[in-house]
Structure formats: structure tokens, C-alpha cells
Amino acid sequence: MPDPHAGLKPQTALGHDVPVTITIGAVTITERFDVALASLAVRRGRDKDLAKAAKAADLPLPPAAMAQFAVPYSAFWMTPEMWMVEAPFASHEEITAGLKTALGDTASLTEQTDAWVRLDITADNPVPLFERLSNIDLATKPVGFAARTVIEHLGTYLIKRSPTDITLYGPRASAQSLLHALEVTAKSLL
């Protein structure tokens, strides 16, 4: 991993120098460390201004319980009038600065990159795994579905990127606990 700051070597949320990929049977879990995050909350009464500015910046603002994927910005809905914006870390490490330029004072922006651990889960059929982890009815949710759920007591965002690809954003400090829950559940499916 590049070390742009002399003497300060970053670590992944799971405590590694480089992200790890774990395969258990048909389930593959990959830590993602290359994504910058920023929360975006509309300022009171500035909805239309924000929508206009976001459109100009090619920043999607998906409807409730959905995510939209684009380049460089993707976003998923968090709660009314609030989204989480994703962008490549390499080009957008200081993600809020770029968004601030685009959106001005239409929204409040907060860097969230290191508040979360991102785990991408790939499986031919991820439903049996997630029905043991979350109360989301994953089988019926469309691609692009995004919602907050609770996995092993941890508040977690779940995004269905494709029928076989699920992203979890869990609290960074509990990254190992979240991974452990995924691992033991995946092993129970063997």
C-alpha cells in the first residue's frame, strides 16, 4: 500500500498492512481499503439546491433504501435527507474537500472513510449466509438495495450490488467481530 505520509503506515480496519480476502466454501469475503467515504446531509430547505449541484457534479442521490453506482461518486441512502458518498480513495482521500467545492453550503459533509470497515461478500447465493445474520429479506431485494441493519449487535449498512455481491459497512472498531460473525456463519453453511 502506498505510504504518502512519511513514517505513518496505514492499517486496514482488520489490522493488516494490506486488505485480506478469505474464502470459506462458496463465500468470499474481501476487505476493501480503497474507498473514501463522506456523509452528506442536506441543509434545511436546500433540497433543490443540493439536487442541482449534485447533478452537476454527477453525484447520485438515490431514493430511500437504495444505492446508485457511478464514477467517481457512488452513494447510498442512509436516512431521510442523508446519504453516504463513496469514491476511490486513491483519487479522493480528502473526499469532503472535493464535495464541498461541488456542493457549497447546500449540504453538511463529514469525512467517514475510517469510521467503517467495508467487507465485500461474494457468493453464488448469498441468501443462506445473510438469513443467518440479518433480518433483511435479501432474496426479494433488487440490485441497488441499501439499508441499515444489525448484524451481531453491530449497526451495519448492507448494499446489494448484484445478486451475488453484497457490501457491508460495519463499525470499524468492531471489524474483527463482524468478520468473525461472517466466518462462523459461512462455515456453518459448508
Partner: protein
């Protein structure tokens, strides 16, 4: 003895022997057997001892309603008590033992209780153990508890895993008998998402236990064929070994799947059981019905069982429970058992039919208008005594008796929302009443449709109705099946016997007990249940409840529906605690939160402490240190001498933005923040509505409309929740946005005279006192450009900063701080040292923020601004909170520096008696101060501000510490604050 009672037929795999033991003796059974069927096949009827009287008992039933055949399974850590042999699936190597007996099942010393039965009638506890009152806890209860109880615990940790999960469906079908299967087929073909759950390991319900046909197949084959089609439907999920145990709100049901109970040990990675939470649009109860016995004198001997179960053992498991079998019935279904057994070559010695008149069974001695009035046989049935219609009494040799008193629909789950069932005279049973869980429907025998045709039809109709309500068509074609009407003449018990007739065999409740309850005016069904313990056990009275209340109805002269019934609560069958706990046990009881410095600290051998979910460094021992105090004293002294570093990431951080952010903070904090300049931070005090202190921390203004609030570690979540409530509900008109950033930033406190010198080696900007004064805050960069935040705040009383970097650099920063700090002999300290230094400085924390202390109590009364409105401000003006003699925060130190003081001690005036009237307050926090060389403490003392310099006693009766102390200022260290402003 080798399967001496095995007969032909059945759904067992005779090609595969399964070896198992019962009480150490070896037996052989087959796949498809239960433990009970296998033991009966081997001629074993005696399987247990009763709860109270230790009466010899065999299985009464062939299902989950079993009250008698409770056994211990497995051994070692997997030992499992109170398991029903009738539902325990046989596997090779199964070890089973009888329970509640000593020294053996055949010769049980406590069977003396049976001879003393006149002392153990209903309510005997209440009458016998009244005097002297003190004996109850010390003598009576321990003895009773030792004598009672059933199986034993291994007291070893369960080695297996338990899982939990969530399912969703349009229709949950509870029970896979004819109604359930037909409903699943109808709904599944219509495209509904269906979950079909059955507690048995083989679907089909009673179809597996009967001989009649469904369509062109036997009932069991029809069930198999339907399953084959259901398996092919992707929208249908079949779950065997899965008991739906409860109905909860909003269409949610819980179900326990016994994933590995039928295996010696779970397969690698597999759980023993899974607790499913099933979210449904509709549910359909097709749980069938449970047969009930007819109590008569000594009706509990091994070999006496329900007639339908006797039939099930023969038809499903190829077992004749006896070779001279009699049937005692009050309904036509009992006759089926006789004909089925006879057709299998079993010698049916008599059918005792309590109904008079009617057609006689051909080829069987069918006694109409007769009753079984007694039985004989100590460890197993040897004979029954029958009274004929003309009063003539005869003894009939029999070693098995099937008894049928009619069938009770399994209404249990319909009562889980307190719906009471309705009575139907035509079937002499309760059926589901109105007012059950929303969208829970019933079909089949569970709804009182007792023939196979009626069950199939009601299941299909229910599924069609549900499908149409969801906009789908669900046509169906019914197979031809028997449609015999229920012919029953109720006989609730056989009157006239002098001995005991058992109603609830698991709790040893007899007809006499019910009569006694009536005699003593416990006539309400709820009182009767509690007085006699009817229905209170692992079987929850599935076979005995209705009999008990029918008897009470007779005694009170009321009808059965007028007498009423108790209702059922979850769970339907017992649920292991492990299944409820799931994976939340041991170190996995809850998730951990690891600090950014955790990895480094672990490498140093740090001692960690759980703070909520966080694991924080408590102290870091160094070689040669043998006690925690040595480490903590060193950390404190070194920090005050030079510089110390502490991970404070755990403190809550909340990003507050918006054009009204300052106004918002003015309202949630007792003091003012809207006037705080950009680049500065301020200590903030947050009150509850009642004026008590909720939390404290510092908040920095990073930009005109952007603040960063810090909270205590303990209240990080509750403060955030409170702020969201304020924002969304109290003041939705304000332009304020919130988000937690606690884990986004790794934050370290750097404290001590050399704090600035150390940080100056990392921070890219000028942080001199002039450039970055006390309470300064701002965005900086470190190590040549990494964005960071710096706050000049102090919790220790030292010159101190908190520096934050994106968390991914947290590990690198602690290593860098230690590396650069070596020049200053920097020390890393933990929460113990943090606590010592904050008490030396007089800062309040957990012990003082106890939820019942005001700002005035803490000496912070002046922080509550009266110039603005804020949450809790008005209530701080309450007279009672402003008494001059109220509690005030003080410092405490022992008069004798060598003496100890103890947190929790109460203040007493010197020479005063330790009474509540003399209580002056209490010590909230105590540490040893290496700086002062003695114990020091903070405390709340009445009129404490007027008692500085006086002496009192600090008394703790729990720790037996009684120390003369001096009341001092809470600021033990640098009271003028010169060091932190250096």
C-alpha cells in the same frame, strides 16, 4: 432381548442396525426409530419415574406431548436432561439414561413417596411447611428441591454452537400433516413464498401413523409424493425437525430447527440448533390434534398409553407395545387402533368401549358400556380390571392398553396473544377461538376438522383464501380420503375408584387433587392450575389440561365452556437456553471494539479492561513490576514529570453542522457555545430535563457552522440519541445535521510538561503557546502533510493536547509518538492512570456523573447559564436543588497518610453513631495518588463547601474501612491551573 416386539411394516430402515444403550444396557434399533419406539421394540416399557411420587412410568404418547418418558441423552458436556424419548431420533451410539430415580429405575428408593402419597396431595407445600417460618428458606426448600426435579445437569460448558436466523414468507404453515401438506401444495403452486415447518423428522403427520389411503396411495406415500413436488418448487421451503414455538407481534413466529440433534455430534461448523425468527404475511396452523387419556385408578402403569400412539407405534415404527393388547375408548377412533393392531397380528384381547349400544367390531371381544376401573403390574402392565355394563367386574390379562378419550385440537399457538379457545360439543374439545394473532389461520385437526378429507379440504381452502387475499389464484384438486365423522360420548374419568387416577402424569396430578382444589374453593381454572400444578411442566398439560377442567366443570355444576380454560404461552415445546442465546456466549457474548492502539498495546503486554464494548488499555506493566499499582504509579509520575500518551479514541465524537449548530448547542448544553470563536474549544455540561447532569465533554468550533462535540465514553451513544431526538422532535425547524465520527479518528492525549515538545516534532504547524493557546482547536497536518486535528485540552491538569488522525493511521501514530517520545522518556498510560490524574485534578467522571447529581452538587453551578434557555436549566432552579446544605463535591484525604479509604464510604461526623440521620454523604471515587503519597478521593458531602478543612469519618461497612479523613478542595493538584496553561 433383540427387538422382541418388532412387527412387520413401518417406515424404518431395517437394513441398517443402530446400536444404542439405555441405562447402560445395549439395544438395537433402526433409522426412522425414536428412542421410545426402539425401546418398545426391544420390549422395554419402563422408561422413567414420575416427578413427585416416583411411580414407574412408560411412554404415554408417541409425540411431543409426552409427559412420562423423559430421559437423559448423551454424556459428558453434551448430557441433556428431560428429553422426551418419544421425539428423540435414534442414532448409532446414542446413550440414554432414565432419570429421577436412585439407585436404579427398577428399584427407586424415593418411590417411598408413593406410599406417603396422602401427605403429598395438592397444596401440601402450603399446608405442611408453614411453621416455623424461618425453616422455609433454610430447611424445607432445599430438601424439597433436592427431592424434586427431574434430570441432572453435567455442569460442563455445552461444546456445541447454536445459531439464529431470519426467514421471510407469504405463508408459514405450521405442521406438515394432511392439512399442512395440502395447504403447502396449493399455496406453492399459486406462487406464494411458503415455509412449511414440522417438528417431526418425517413430514406427513398422522398420515405416517395410519393405514388408510389418500387418493391412490397410502397416506404416507401420498405425503412423500407431495413433498417431492414441494421440493421442486423454488418458492417453497420445507423444514423438518423444526418446531414453531411461539407467535409474536406483527406476524413474527419463532421456530427451533434441531439441525444436529439426530447426530452424535454436529458436523464441523454446523450448529446444534438454529432459532429462526420467521416474518410472515400469513400463517396457517395445521398442527393436528393430541389424544387425551381417560383417567381411571392406576392408569399410569408402563404399557398404558394413548390408543392412537399404540397404533402409531405399530403402523409407523413396526412395534407392538405388548403382545396382549386391550383398548379402552369412548370414541370411534379408539376402535381404529384395535382393528389396525389386529390386522398386524397383534392379539387384541378386548376393546372396552364406554359407549353403550352400537355395532360391535367383528372378530374382537368388544365390550360395550364397559369401563376399565383398575390395573395391576408394578413395573409394567399385567392386567386390567373391567367393569361391564351390568356391573360385573373381571380381570383381563394384558401387557399393553391403549386409551382414547378423544382428541384435542392443538390450539396452543392461537392462544399466544391471549385468545381463548371455543368449545365444540360435537367433538368434545376446544377449537381455536377468535382474537388470535392477526393473519393466523387454522386448518385440519387443529381447527377441529377431524377426518382426513376434512383436513385436506380445510388446508387447501385456507391456502386458496390466503392466496386470493394476496392477488393470486389457487385452484386445487383434492385426493379422495376417508371422511368418517367424530363419534364420541365424553367420559372424562372413570368414577368410583378408591385409588388414584392420574390426569396430569408429568406433575402427578390426580382426580383427587382436582376434587381437593374444588373442596378448598380453588375452582377458577387459573387457581386450580396453580394449586394442583396441573399443566405446569415440560409438556404444558397437552394431555391433561382439558380433563382437569372438565372435571372441575362437573364438580362445580357448570358447563366446560363456562368453566373456561387456561391459555397457552410460548414456547410450544421446551427450548434449550443455548438456542435462545445463539452465538452470544463466552467471549462472543458481544462484539468488541478495538482502539487504534490496540495492536501496539497488545504487543507491549498491556492489560485491557472492558469499557462497554471497548477494550481499553488499563495499564502497561514493565518488566520487574509485580503489582498494578507499581505500573500505575510509574505512569502517573512519569506523565507529570515529562509526558504521557493515552488513547482517548473511545470518547464519543459527534460532528455537528448547520447554520443553527451554535443555537442548537446552546439549547442542549447548560453553558453557551454560540459565542465560541472558531478555533477554540470549551468544556460543556449537558443536563437532562430534570436538571441532573447527563454528560460532559469538550466541544470545538472547527468552522462557522461546524462543531465537534466530545462525550464521555459511556454516554457516546446515549448523547447522540439524545441529540437526534432534540434535532428531529424538539426543534425540527433548526438547520442542524449530526453524525458520529467516534471511529473515524484515532485520538491520543499527550499530557505533561513535555507534551508540546513532543508534538512539535510531528506537527507541521507552530503549536507554541502563542500560536496554539490553551483551549485552542484546529485542523493541522502531521508528518509532512497528513490531515489531523489538534485540541489543547487537559483532563490531567497538565499541559496537554489531544491529537487526532484518520483511524487507519492510528497504529502508526502511537508508534511514532512512542518513537519520538523516547527523547523525553515518554510513557504510555492506561485508564487507571487517567483516573488517578483526573481525581488529582478534581474532574468529575463516572462516579460523580451518577444520574442523580446536579451541576451545583458538582461545584459547577455557575456553568448553568440563566441568560438562555437550555434543557434542564429551568429544573436546576428547583428549591430542593439549591439548598445551602445540599451535597457538594469535595476532596478527601486520610488524616493518617498511611491509612486507606474506600470508595462508597459514607461521611460521618467524628464520634457520631453510624445512622442514617448522621449520614453526611459518600465517597464517589478513590485512588492512590503517587504525587501526594496517600489515598485521595472525591465525594459528595452535605454542605461540603463549608466543611473544607474539617475532619470526618469515612465509613464503609462493606469493606470494614473506618478512616478519619480531612475534607479538602477537590483540586488536589495545581489548583491554580498553571501547568495546563503553560
Amino acid at each position: 432381548m433383540s427387538q422382541s416386539h418388532r412387527i412387520g411394516g413401518g417406515q424404518i430402515d431395517r437394513t441398517q442396525p443402530l446400536n444404542f444403550t439405555f441405562d447402560g444396557k445395549s439395544f438395537v434399533g433402526h433409522p426412522g426409530d425414536t428412542l421410545a419406539s426402539a425401546l418398545l421394540a426391544n420390549g422395554v416399557q419402563l422408561m422413567g419415574r414420575s416427578f413427585k411420587y416416583h411411580r414407574p412410568r412408560g411412554p404415554l404418547s408417541a409425540g411431543s406431548e409426552e409427559p412420562n418418558a423423559l430421559v437423559e441423552l448423551r454424556s459428558g458436556a453434551r448430557q441433556e436432561p428431560n428429553t422426551r424419548a418419544t421425539v428423540a431420533e435414534l442414532f448409532d451410539g446414542l446413550q440414554a439414561r432414565s432419570q429421577n430415580r436412585w439407585p436404579s429405575l427398577a428399584y427407586d428408593a424415593l418411590s417411598i413417596n408413593d406410599r406417603l402419597n396422602s401427605f403429598f396431595t395438592a397444596g401440601f407445600y402450603y399446608k405442611t411447611f408453614m411453621w416455623p417460618a424461618a425453616f422455609w428458606e433454610k430447611l424445607y426448600e432445599p430438601i424439597i428441591r433436592r427431592a424434586a426435579g427431574l434430570g441432572s445437569m453435567s455442569r460442563l460448558e455445552d461444546p456445541d454452537d447454536y445459531d439464529k436466523g431470519f426467514l421471510h414468507c407469504d405463508l408459514l404453515i405450521i405442521g406438515a400433516g394432511p392439512a399442512g401438506l395440502m395447504a403447502a401444495l396449493t399455496a406453492g403452486r399459486a406462487g406464494l413464498r411458503v415455509v412449511l415447518a414440522d417438528e417431526d423428522f418425517r413430514m406427513g403427520g398422522r398420515l405416517n401413523a395410519e393405514t388408510y389411503a389418500v387418493g391412490d396411495h397410502s397416506g404416507a406415500d401420498w405425503a412423500t409424493a407431495v413433498q417431492s413436488e414441494l421440493v421442486s418448487l423454488p418458492n417453497v421451503r420445507l423444514m423438518t425437525r423444526t418446531t414453531v414455538v411461539g407467535a409474536f407481534d406483527h406476524g413474527i413466529y419463532s421456530a427451533v430447527e434441531r439441525v444436529s440433534d439426530h447426530l452424535p455430534t454436529p458436523l464441523a461448523g454446523k450448529p446444534r440448533q438454529t432459532l429462526w425468527r420467521i416474518y410472515t404475511a400469513h400463517a396457517l396452523l395445521t398442527g393436528g390434534a393430541t389424544e387425551r387419556p381417560i383417567p381411571f385408578e392406576n392408569n399410569d402403569r408402563p404399557g398404558i398409553m394413548l390408543a392412537g400412539s399404540l397404533r402409531a407405534y405399530a403402523n409407523r415404527w413396526g412395534v407392538a407395545a405388548g403382545d396382549r393388547v386391550a383398548i379402552f375408548t369412548n370414541n370411534d377412533d379408539g376402535l381404529r387402533s384395535a382393528t389396525d393392531l389386529q390386522s398386524k397380528g397383534v392379539d387384541v384381547v378386548a376393546v372396552i368401549d364406554s359407549r353403550e349400544g352400537g355395532t360391535l367390531l367383528p372378530g374382537i371381544r368388544h365390550l360395550r358400556g364397559a369401563q376399565v376401573i383398575d390395573s395391576a403390574g408394578r413395573l409394567g402392565l399385567k392386567s386390567i380390571t373391567v367393569r361391564g355394563p351390568n356391573g360385573k367386574v373381571e380381570t383381563i390379562s394384558a401387557n399393553a392398553l391403549g386409551v382414547s378419550g378423544g382428541w384435542n385440537p392443538n390450539v396452543n399457538i392461537t392462544s399466544h396473544h391471549r385468545s381463548r379457545p371455543d368449545w365444540r360439543d360435537d367433538i368434545a374439545a376446544f377449537v381455536p377461538g377468535s382474537g388470535g394473532p392477526a393473519n393466523l389461520h387454522c386448518a385440519g385437526a387443529a381447527a377441529g376438522h377431524m377426518s382426513t378429507h376434512a383436513a385436506l379440504k380445510s388446508g387447501a381452502e385456507a391456502a386458496r383464501h390466503i392466496a386470493e387475499s394476496m392477488g393470486k389464484q389457487a385452484p386445487y384438486v383434492l385426493p379422495v380420503a376417508e371422511d368418517a365423522p367424530v363419534q364420541i360420548t365424553p367420559l372424562w374419568y372413570v368414577p368410583g375408584g378408591k385409588g388414584r387416577a392420574w390426569i396430569d402424569q408429568q406433575n402427578d396430578v390426580t382426580v383427587k387433587d382436582i376434587k381437593l382444589a374444588h373442596q378448598e374453593n380453588f375452582t377458577s381454572v387459573e387457581h386450580m392450575k396453580r394449586y394442583t400444578t396441573l399443566g405446569m411442566a415440560t409438556d404444558q398439560g397437552k394431555t391433561g389440561n382439558v380433563i382437569g377442567l372438565a372435571l372441575m366443570a362437573e364438580l362445580t355444576g357448570q358447563s366446560i365452556p363456562a368453566t373456561g380454560t387456561t391459555i397457552y404461552r410460548p414456547p410450544y415445546t421446551p427450548v434449550a437456553m443455548g438456542a435462545l442465546a445463539g452465538r452470544s456466549r463466552g467471549k462472543e457474548f458481544k462484539p468488541f471494539r478495538l482502539t487504534p492502539s490496540h495492536k501496539w498495546a497488545a504487543e507491549q503486554g498491556a492489560i485491557f479492561v472492558e469499557v462497554g464494548n471497548w477494550l481499553r488499555t488499563q495499564w502497561l506493566p514493565r518488566p520487574g513490576e509485580t503489582t498494578w499499582r507499581q505500573s500505575v504509579d510509574r505512569e502517573v509520575l512519569q506523565t507529570r514529570k515529562s509526558v504521557g500518551i493515552c488513547d482517548v479514541t473511545t470518547l464519543g465524537k459527534i460532528d455537528i453542522q448547520g447554520t443553527d449548530a451554535g443555537l442548537f448547542l446552546d439549547r442542549v448544553y447548560a453553558n453557551t457555545f454560540s459565542t465560541l470563536p472558531v478555533g477554540k474549544c470549551r468544556y460543556g455540561l449537558m443536563l437532562r430535563e430534570d436538571g441532573m447532569v447527563f454528560d460532559d465533554g469538550t466541544t470545538a468550533r472547527m468552522a462557522e457552522h461546524e462543531y465537534v462535540m466530545t462525550t464521555t465514553t459511556a454516554n457516546a451513544v446515549t448523547v447522540f440519541r439524545h441529540l437526534e431526538f432534540c434535532r428531529q422532535c424538539l426543534w425540527p425547524d433548526l438547520d442542524v445535521q449530526l453524525i458520529s465520527t467516534t471511529e473515524a479518528w484515532a485520538q491520543y492525549s499527550v499530557a505533561g510538561p513535555n507534551a508540546r515538545n513532543l508534538l512539535a516534532k510531528l506537527v507541521d504547524q507552530d503549536i507554541s503557546d502563542a500560536a496554539f493557546p490553551y483551549m485552542g482547536a484546529g485542523n493541522i497536518t502531521v508528518c509532512g502533510g497528513l490531515r489531523a486535528r489538534l485540541f489543547r485540552i487537559s483532563f490531567s491538569g497538565e499541559l496537554a493536547y489531544e491529537i487526532a488522525v484518520p483511524t487507519r493511521y492510528g497504529d502508526a501514530l502511537i508508534r511514532k509518538l512512542v518513537e519520538v517520545g523516547a527523547e523525553f522518556d515518554a510513557v504510555v498510560y492506561g485508564t487507571e492512570t487517567l483516573g488517578v490524574m483526573r481525581i488529582e485534578k478534581g474532574h468529575v467522571a463516572g462516579g460523580e456523573l451518577n444520574g442523580q447529581s446536579s451541576a451545583l452538587n458538582m461545584g459547577l453551578g455557575k456553568m448553568v447559564s440563566k441568560k438562555k434557555d437550555s434543557i434542564g436549566m429551568a429544573m436546576t432552579l428547583r428549591e430542593g436543588l439549591n439548598q445551602p446544605g445540599g451535597l457538594r463535591l469535595v476532596g478527601v484525604r486520610p488524616v493518617d497518610p498511611a491509612a486507606s479509604i474506600s470508595a462508597g464510604s459514607h461521611f460521618l461526623p467524628l464520634g457520631a453513631a453510624p445512622t442514617a440521620e448522621n449520614d453526611g454523604g459518600w465517597l464517589t471515587s478513590k485512588v492512590f495518588s503517587p504525587h501526594l503519597g496517600c489515598d485521595i478521593a472525591l465525594g459528595y458531602l452535605k454542605a461540603g463547601d463549608q466543611k473544607i478543612g474539617t475532619r470526618m469519618r469515612a465509613v464503609n461497612f462493606l469493606t470494614q474501612v473506618d478512616t478519619e479523613v480531612e475534607i479538602v478542595s477537590p483540586h488536589f493538584f495545581d489548583p491554580e491551573g498553571e501547568r495546563l496553561r503553560a
